[in-house]
Point group: C2
Chain length 376, copies 2
């Protein structure tokens, strides 16, 4: 499975995996793909620095990247305290009542009160870029469209290509105009921030748009990919590689989240049990539409009388402690977890290397089947 | 492009096209695919009889099928007058005011008042089956899931396979249990009645479910297919053929709808100008969620104060005359037209034979590209 991106990045397979877990990211890189570490959870740049040092020591000199969350428009900025003041009291009351209704335990007394996930803030996302550029990273991806021009220029000066997510051909074209090197065409099926247009329509639309206006810009297909068959479909539709996330949340190496004993974490239990119909796309996670695992938490926001979500970054400030409390609890029915519709296919815990191996062999057998259909 | 369905149906390509136009259906059949004529517009069985006689005379003895709209659960039944009484006055007022606000002209004085589209009624759909079985049809498809058992039995007794749309693996399994021969896996992207799960996830899910529980049941992929690349993706994902609809609304042979002079019809003008972002999925067409072209009509139902749509079949009774009035007008901004997200790719009027030819050559070039990716 070899496309032009393999040569460009020095990777064996054009499989790019976004993950908040450095264990998973490193394993993807070692298995011949490109692990891309999500930075949004690092409020303190020193924590990211330590994790990237670990990545450097555990990737056999093979390429990896980082993913930051940097809105193209600079949003409300400030310290956690400033931002906090902008959250309406009625919203806080709703969250408190909902957590009580759902029986979500408080954080342990000795847990430091969270300052929220500051990675959504522009200044923190910039600190992630600064830290990352001190490491031999091979890609900076931005989860919310084009990063600001000076960030793109800084990355390019360091020889690091920039990728950005797009939910429409118009977005893709804008990214290319802004100097983005790789557009991640993220279909409606995807987990996390996602648009309305399904992968089957979106991917070739972006491929064709960029081929016409900016042929040097590569396209990765995202949204709904979990097996080698789907990789074959993505490449048939003209993408030069795939961008995956959800399917690696049930990787054996994924060590984030609470677990009681040896088995899967609470989050992984919730994911293993879900079908493709068990996701919702809502603004309740960050303020922008994101696909989440359906849970009693998302149900509460859908119930009559629930408030409208706040804009980014306020919504995340509002729900950040709630997310921590749910993540710390042992109840898989109350979670706030971004995941795509491919969750229906995530039915066992597997090592990263096995997932990658299936993507490759599944791709090969799907293409051989197509040969038979074509040639018979 | 040859799959098992080609042998089973005696067709050259596993391309099934649903269309309300007998001109398009016949042209698809003549071009080597399977034209499937939508019957819901025929209130009078004699009209369907006449059109099927025309089909018989214009398909060179090649196979064609019909599509009926038969809910698995028998809905509210009765004459147009009975049904009419169940429509709330406030809903009628909203429709009347909306049409006035949008400047939709009344029907010409001499136009017979419509009795609504009775094809949604169980009894009428049954009459479509009766009429169709007097012709050499090769497929009966049902747009709303499994038809009643006696209808399936009657079709089978006549040697005619039955197809049914499914939006989830659970639906697909139920159809197979009911004796349906072909499941049409209809992804979120599709026009008309459609579910939440995107094609990229839904198709392989249904393929794998049926392979496990009912391997004799074939799967057609629907939702987002307009080009040969997408056909390749569908077959890579394990479907045995494709089911298309939207992409043939801009066929040269499509002669339904108002047109002023030689050019495209009013509806076709609206479709040619739309992007993939210009659809909405709403219950306003039939009472069940259906993807429609976004228009000033759909905007009006999204505006604050608009009533909730009525259940099937009442909603269609409510809006049927409105649909006729909009269809008869020359304003492409007020239409009620089911169409999928592939509408963004429908940018020119082309003969059916050209569309089919591109599907075949596009499929071939996509699979050759995959061979290069696999073998290099």
């Amino acid at each position: 499975m070899h496309t032009e991106l393999c040569d460009r990045f020095g990777i064996q397979y054009p499989i790019f995996v976004f993950t908040p877990s450095e264990k998973v990211a490193a394993a993807v890189t070692r298995a011949g793909g490109m692990g891309v570490l999500g930075c949004v959870r690092f409020n303190d740049p020193d924590d990211l620095e330590a994790v990237l040092q670990w990545m450097d020591a555990n990737t056999d000199g093979k390429p990896y990247g980082v993913d930051v969350v940097m809105p193209a428009k600079v949003p409300t900025e400030g310290t956690a305290v400033d931002i906090d003041k902008l959250v309406p009291e009625a919203h806080r009351d709703f969250v408190a009542k909902t957590l009580a209704d759902l029986g979500v335990p408080p954080l342990p007394d000795d847990a430091a009160r969270s300052q929220g996930t500051l990675g959504w803030l522009h200044s923190i996302a910039r600190s992630h870029v600064e830290v990352a550029l001190r490491h031999p990273i091979k890609l900076i991806a931005n989860a919310l469209g084009s990063p600001p021009k000076d960030v793109i220029d800084e990355a390019h000066a360091a020889g690091v290509p920039v990728a950005a997510l797009a939910g429409s051909a118009k977005h893709a074209q804008r990214h290319a105009d802004n100097g983005v090197d790789i557009v991640i065409a993220q279909g409606h099926e995807a987990g996390g921030h996602t648009g309305e247009i399904g992968s089957m329509v979106l991917w070739p639309e972006i491929v064709e748009e960029l081929a016409a206006v900016s042929p040097q810009t590569a396209v990765l297909a995202a949204g709904g990919i979990g097996t080698g068959r789907q990789v074959a479909a993505a490449l048939a539709l003209g993408a030069q590689g795939v961008w995956m996330g959800s399917a690696f949340l049930t990787a054996e190496e994924y060590d984030l989240g609470v677990r009681s004993g040896e088995g899967p974490s609470v989050i992984q239990q919730a994911l293993l049990g879900a079908t493709s119909a068990d996701t919702v796309r809502r603004r309740i996670y960050s303020g922008k539409p994101a696909r989440l695992l359906k849970s009693r938490w998302t149900d509460a926001w859908d119930a009559e009388g629930a408030p409208d979500p706040l804009p980014m970054p306020l919504q995340n400030v509002l729900v950040s402690e709630a997310h921590q409390r749910m993540s710390a609890s042992a109840d898989p029915t109350t979670v706030a977890m971004p995941v795509g519709q491919i969750v229906g296919r995530m039915n066992e815990i597997r090592p990263v290397a096995d997932i990658i191996a299936e993507l490759v062999t599944g791709f090969e057998s799907a293409t051989r089947k197509l040969d038979t259909i074509r040639d018979s």
